[in-house]
């Protein structure tokens, strides 16, 4: 009996450790961009604006690295593209039991450079995060995840679009809304 219980506990420990190790990779994704920093941001912005029929609009462009610079330090550039769609935010904001998930809004795609000189795109796995909060949120976030995937689908044959300068800041708490307003967020 002791052996069975010990084995069960050991199994739980191994499972826990495996999940702990994999959680960060499951919750967030990172991929290399074939373009430079500004062009990656601009192409993501163009893809977001292209999904206007689903309510998506840009709600800001933040540069958290700037706040570090202003404080006298250096970090490689980071640009956060913020987008929102009232189609998806409304059902979550309407329900008192899920309103706290407004903390996940607006939807963010982050573009940054690393020490290898390459540009990367980071996103949250909206579908997986959504599943943690029940069927309603899970359903909404699954659709958000599908749209998010299109944000980072690039067509290299198209010329680089111009960067849409939204509200930059970060760190100081001033987010504000950029082109297209808050889009319901």
């Amino acid at each position: 009996m002791l052996k069975v219980l010990g084995g069960f506990v050991a199994g739980l420990l191994v499972l826990g450790l495996t999940l702990w190790n994999a959680a960060s990779h499951l919750m967030f994704t990172e991929r290399e961009s074939p373009f430079g920093l500004e062009e990656t941001v601009a192409r993501i912005q163009a893809n977001i604006v292209a999904q206007k029929d689903k309510g998506w609009s840009l709600s800001g462009l933040r540069n958290p690295a700037r706040a570090v610079n202003q404080a006298g330090g250096n970090v490689l550039p980071v640009m956060m593209v913020e987008a929102c769609s009232p189609h998806y935010s409304k059902p979550i904001l309407k329900d008192d039991t899920t309103r706290f998930l407004s903390i996940l809004m607006p939807c963010k795609v982050t573009v940054y450079k690393k020490n290898d000189g390459k540009v990367y795109i980071g996103m949250m796995n909206a579908a997986l995060v959504g599943k943690l909060f029940g069927a309603t949120v899970g359903g909404v976030m699954a659709q958000v995840a599908q749209d998010q995937a299109k944000f980072v689908e690039f067509d290299p044959s198209k010329p680089a679009p111009p960067l849409i300068q939204g509200t930059e800041g970060g760190g100081s708490g001033s987010g504000g809304s950029g082109p297209g307003g808050g889009g319901g967020c």
């Binding site: 430079g36 500004e38 601009a42 006298g72 250096n74 020490n115 680089a160």
Partner: protein, 552 residues
Amino acid sequence: MRTVESEIEGEFMAKRILITLTLWLAAGLALAAEQPPAPAAAPAAVAKKVSASTADHTKFKQLQQSFGSGPEVTKACLECHTEAAKQIHRTSHWTWEFMNPENKQRLGKRNIVNNFCTAVPSNYEFCTACHIGYNWKDETFDFTSESNVDCLVCHDTTGTYRKLPGLAGHPAYQEMEFPPHSGKKVKPVDLTKVAQNVGKTSRETCGACHFYGGGGDGVKHGDMDSSLKMPGRYLDVHMDAKGLNFSCGTCHMATSHQVPGSRYMPTAVDREGAHVRGKADKTNPATCVACHGNGPHEHEPLLDTHARKIACQTCHIPQYARGNVATKTLWDWSTAGQLSPDGKPIMRKDSAGRVVYDSKKGDFRFDSHAIPTYIWFNGKVNYTLLGTPIGATGVTRINQFEGGPDDGKSMIWPVKVFHGKQPYDAQTKSLVIPHTYGGEGDDTAYWSNFDWEKAIAAGMKSVNAPYSGKFGFVETEMSWPITHMVAPKQDALACDQCHSRSGRLKDIGGIYIPGRDHNRLIDLIGFALAGLTLIGVIGHGIGRYISNRKRA
């Protein structure tokens, strides 16, 4: 009519006011007793900043006149500063020439061919906007003329003196359209005002040329651009406008107008230690070591041992072009000449609004927060000059940085490698000088006619160099040492940024870097020790378990 009630109310009010005033007075006296007396006058905040100079140039009669041209101002300057022009004439800022004493190569802007705008000859009127002189229009320029020296470009403090490309080193003396046909107007410079407000050189005056090398802001160097006019601490700890606020001259301390520091013969290794006041130091005062010495890492002796093989810049300038001004990384002349359907030059911009194609110049590529390339460098640079044979295939190095791990004179340096594709003589296998800029009616300038044949023929003729008439485009590389934009020490490279297999120094040969390099024997011994330890622990555990069961 006053009533008794109103009289009582009035008396009551008078008492209240009296009591209130008494309390205020008492409180005021108490506060006054606690506070120190106020200063007689507010000092620096309102007082005008006192100049450290011993001369007020507005008071000089020579400068109280209306000047028609730069040379007229120079003549006035030389009435007092009698030796200044003679000193200038001996500098490479004036001659644009540098004779490398080691390999005898004749270098300098007048002689080299680079992979940016390519070459000065035949394009003098344009390029000499960055010469500290006036009237350099062609090969007949008088280098002995004292009045041709431009004092103002280095000593202006008004920020209004600007030399325009195409005017042979002159500023605008009357309102003019610049760039030509752009519709933008440039106002004439007030020479009297500038002459009366001369002073020490500054980041702005040096930067007027050095920030814009290669034809635009931050284009050439990567570690120098307009963001250094008023940099924050994060960008450069020395030039931090709110901190140490170094000007260029703080390090590049000139004597008799000779500015130390050279990109043709850089000081790659400085073993002399810190310069001491009063001591005759003959080494370059612009190196890091000249101030910080050879053991600058207090309580960190391990870092000082690193400094024997690694230039300070390698760790302390983690990226260049960090000031939100991108630097150019590629210039492809071979694609120049594309025109719109109606035959007009075109421009294309990237997402950040930077021009990435210009009919006159071809394709460009940019990078910001760029990661340097690292090389062994001993300070010797060999140039591919006009007439130096080159290969038609592969990459031609415009400047070859020498050095290696075993010569005892090299350090690991960060450099910007600039990639180009530029015209060459397909028959003689030599770089060529294209005539790019021409005035009105010049049919041989590339920027006017988009005809490489004519442009190269004219450029080569201007220096009496042979040209076969057949040209092609060759890939080139040019390296630039990174030495400005020094980050705060907290932002220097961390250990794992080099001590890892894919770290910054992954391509540096001839040195064993723990974490990057592996020795099979050492690895085998390490793994064997770890394995034996594991076996020992398991064996010990099993022994304890068995002996325990037997006892039970």
